[in-house]
Symmetry: C3
Subunit: 159 residues, 3 copies
């Protein structure tokens, strides 16, 4: 918490697993964030944070993360997870992150995030300068998980 968040990076992944928790773990690995400690946050991009490609993060690091995950044990079912962020015109103001998970296609998940971000900015009276959505869908073979995440990062978290 004393650490200063200066970067944020989005990612998404999907996987099968032997159990729901393993499917989630495997989706995290597929997304490149399987060896860190996610701390769920709800869900703001601090002002003046740079959006970057997912960097190499120290194993075990405690990383505040906005994420959505959908696990299913129903073969043939298509699940989706998505996150998105919108940043304001005014760089002194914060951005907003929205999450979605459900029995849905990737396109449906993306539309849901888009509508939620638009409303979040409308109610804040801010204009969106930049908006980006990261979504993934997965059709379950046995036990599957779709996951999308935005990590909030400090210099010290990087390898």
């Amino acid at each position: 918490m004393t650490k200063r968040i200066t970067m944020a990076a989005a990612t998404a992944g999907r996987a099968e697993g032997g159990t729901s928790l393993n499917a989630f773990d495997n989706a995290l690995l597929a997304a490149g964030i399987g060896n860190i400690n996610l701390i769920k946050v709800s869900s703001i991009v601090p002002p003046e944070v740079s959006m970057i490609e997912l960097p190499k993060i120290k194993p075990g690091a405690l990383i505040p993360t906005a994420y959505a995950a959908m696990t299913s044990e129903t073969p043939g079912e298509t699940v989706a997870a998505a996150v998105g962020y919108a940043l304001p015109d005014d760089p002194a103001k914060n951005g907003v992150i929205m999450e979605f998970h459900g029995i849905a296609s990737q396109a449906e998940a993306e539309r849901a995030i888009d509508a939620m971000l638009e409303e979040a900015f409308r109610v804040r009276g801010e204009t969106i300068r930049e908006k980006k959505i990261f979504a993934v869908e997965h059709t379950v073979e046995r036990i599957g998980c779709a996951l999308a995440a935005i990590t909030l990062l400090a210099e010290e978290d990087l390898v």
Copy 2:
């Protein structure tokens, strides 16, 4: 985490939204904590923490928060959320926070919190010096959310 929690502030809010997550976001805004990153904690007031009015918090700050939220998509339904804290006679001991959410009235939520705090102190063998409950109810129009929260704050979190 290295930051030292020296204050705690309670708040509550309620709102409608276009989706459940927007209703939650709007309730956070109504409660004055819509532009920070909530990190859910379970749920202790550290010793020697001052209970204060909700201050202006830096946008995007990572704030450990005990909170309860109840969202409903059933028009006409009344939902409630409440939090409460109790502090012990002995200032070296910690206080306790309890949360409630459900299809309930504000008064029911308050009674639930009160009973939970009493039990929490009975089992700890401590006497309550101060007890306060923050509750809100919301009757849903389309999609609504009631939310109550106690934020744990450090000097550096304030504007």
Copy 3:
């Protein structure tokens, strides 16, 4: 987060309570972690962390914790919670924590954790050097909770 995690300690507990949240609170007290702020993490043992007996932790400290809890209001029902960790041969690599909760016996919970840890290491291509599982079951009288947790600790968290 700036604080450096150098230790981890596992615990488990079970209890009855007047409400589900009090049963959870009482199970935390029974496990020796009822007076700290748990921050849920998902769920990695950082490299070079020492596994220790649960120490005395400062009241109110913010402690990243992987935990599983199962509460039931069905008298006679047996619920279980378990956590387990596995550490790799290579001390520069992280370990993994798995959690389980459900209507189950302690032995079933232990088997579930064991299988999840094995898969987690198989997919990572690592060999398990050390593996330990902490599980508890509770047969509900009125309202009961079984809880298991692994706390991630820094020097400054200890009394």
